[in-house]
């Protein structure tokens, strides 16, 4: 910038005014032109680092995501990106890799880089997030929001999918078709969404007056490679289920394969409902629950920006509605 000033024959200050298009200070057209010309000729590119330092605004959001293996997480990031570009913000992407220690470290790195806001996408192998991590972020005063998880103390904004109603819809779909012996491939109890779905499963049974049979519930992770075996175990039961509610499309997909490989037919022998529409669901004919992950990202980012504008908002929980996607895996009918 000093070079531009020298070349144009003006002071650096004037150059700065021109290049930032300040409206409160009048620059006569001829000098404007000469400065812009000089900048062009020198191929000047402003140094965003220095600018960030002096303005104390990086125009950058930090996003921590377990990884991008799952299209669910990738779609959340897509949503965030959309809003970011609308606000002319950059996106610093970090991976927690489902590791609490790594997550903390990544967040620290982002804070060092002075992100103006932080989006933390929940890990499926999640731990108690609240304590250390959130304290650290909040005490720093950096606006923060959690997606797909919801720390219990309500100190922070979060965006979650409406697992309760989503699960209810999925279960209702099966119950309405006359199934009374319904298995559940569970995502465990550590991750909040997994727990909610298992709870939803039990509640739906209770409301239908069906006793809870623990032998019909199996599984402890959203992403375990053992899902096929879990399904086989259900099929080998003396009284196997006539339908299965999987906490996850990934689990559901494995279940579908396992069911077919064991010579059963979907949906006549066993009906299957998944959760969290993944791309493969369509080709499996899998009835599932769409979580609108892109919306989750969009809403989270939007909320974060309003909090950046007004840091004193009281934290709220945003619930994104789900949508049942009916395909063939539970039979046709009305």
């Amino acid at each position: 910038m000093a070079d531009v000033a020298r070349r144009a024959g003006f002071s650096r200050t004037t150059v700065s005014y021109v290049l930032n298009g300040r409206s409160d200070v009048t620059i006569p057209e001829p000098t404007r032109a000469r400065i812009l010309l000089a900048a062009e000729e020198l191929g000047y590119r402003r140094n965003g680092i220095a600018r960030s330092l002096v303005r104390n605004r990086t125009q950058t959001l930090g996003v921590v995501v377990p990884s991008l293996q799952s299209s669910f997480h990738a779609e959340i990031v897509n949503g965030i990106q959309e809003v970011c570009s609308r606000y002319e913000f950059r996106m610093l992407l970090a991976y927690s890799l489902d590791d609490p220690q790594g997550e903390l470290e990544q967040v620290r790195l982002l804070l060092e880089n002075r992100v103006e806001g932080l989006i933390n996408v929940g890990s499926w192998r999640t731990h108690d997030r609240s304590a250390e991590l959130l304290d650290e972020v909040l005490s720093e005063g950096v606006p923060c929001i959690v997606v797909d998880d919801c720390p219990p103390d309500g100190q922070v904004d979060c965006v979650i999918s409406d697992d309760r109603n989503g699960t209810a819809a999925a279960m209702r779909h099966l119950l309405q078709r006359g199934h009374r012996r319904i298995g559940h491939l569970s995502g465990g109890t550590r991750a909040v969404p997994a727990r909610l779905r298992e709870e939803g499963y039990r509640q739906a049974l209770a409301e239908a007056g069906i006793p809870y049979d623990p032998s019909l519930v199996i599984g402890w992770s959203f992403s375990s490679p053992d899902a096929a075996q879990w399904m086989e175990q259900l099929l080998r039961l003396p009284e196997p289920p006539t339908a299965v509610f999987a906490a996850n499309d990934r689990l559901a997909a494995e279940a579908v394969v396992a069911i077919r490989e064991n010579g059963f037919v979907i949906p006549s022998d066993v009906a299957v409902v998944g959760y969290g529409e993944q791309p493969e669901a369509r080709y499996l004919g899998l009835t599932t629950v769409n979580q609108a992950p892109r919306d989750m990202g969009v809403r989270a980012a939007e909320r974060l920006f309003t909090r950046i504008a007004d840091p004193d908002l009281v934290p709220e929980t945003i619930v994104i509605p789900t949508r049942l996607v009916v395909r063939q895996s539970c039979g046709n009918a009305e």
Copy 2:
């Protein structure tokens, strides 16, 4: 940091030395301890922006990606991330959204933010990338690498999948099974990978002594929603193909659905081979070609880091080998 110095009763310089653990300057243990204590008590967090400014090193890579809709691109980003964290680099992620103008703008933003290297993941609706964009980046002297595209003038590193051999393998798979009338759902001729696959298709036919029939080739985009109609058009041909090679798993998936919906059976009526293993391929039983996108990201990032270390390397093209994944969509066994 000045606060820490004041509290510990030392100068800012000493604090800086301690906090950066400089080995060439000796700090006695007691002062070290007092400074670390003071930093801890004040919850000091170093300002990465100021640090970047003075060191002229941001430890940040810029990554431009069309979007994360496709798991192919998401996996590339995963690979890049892996290497980044190994080098303790951050990742600034920008979306080109398949738009040349937007891409240029994003790249400029990244350059403003002084990324130390730039990874440009090829857009499928790509234009002539070389001219404006690469000139700008290269003249800036910022190390750069292109993934999944290969500018013709060889001025820049790039990582591409071995489309030639991959396509050959896919076609050989069909030819060995006796198919002589093979259709092709094309990704068009604009994107380099799409063009290579179409060329590979023709070449494989030529080598097998089969004349090229233009009516068997249809399609112009990797991501068009019209793919099902293209497939139906092939099926309605007076002499329909007995096999189809799709440039893309996405196209292949649509084709599979269309084939079944039109009452044909896979693979006995029509065999299908896709390309670029997507997650849904597994559940469709789709024979396809794995491109190892994660490896592409890893190799690209690694190459970029070696170029950052030594900017005068002569540009090279890294070809990632593919792997044929045989499933049921072409019939069993040899």
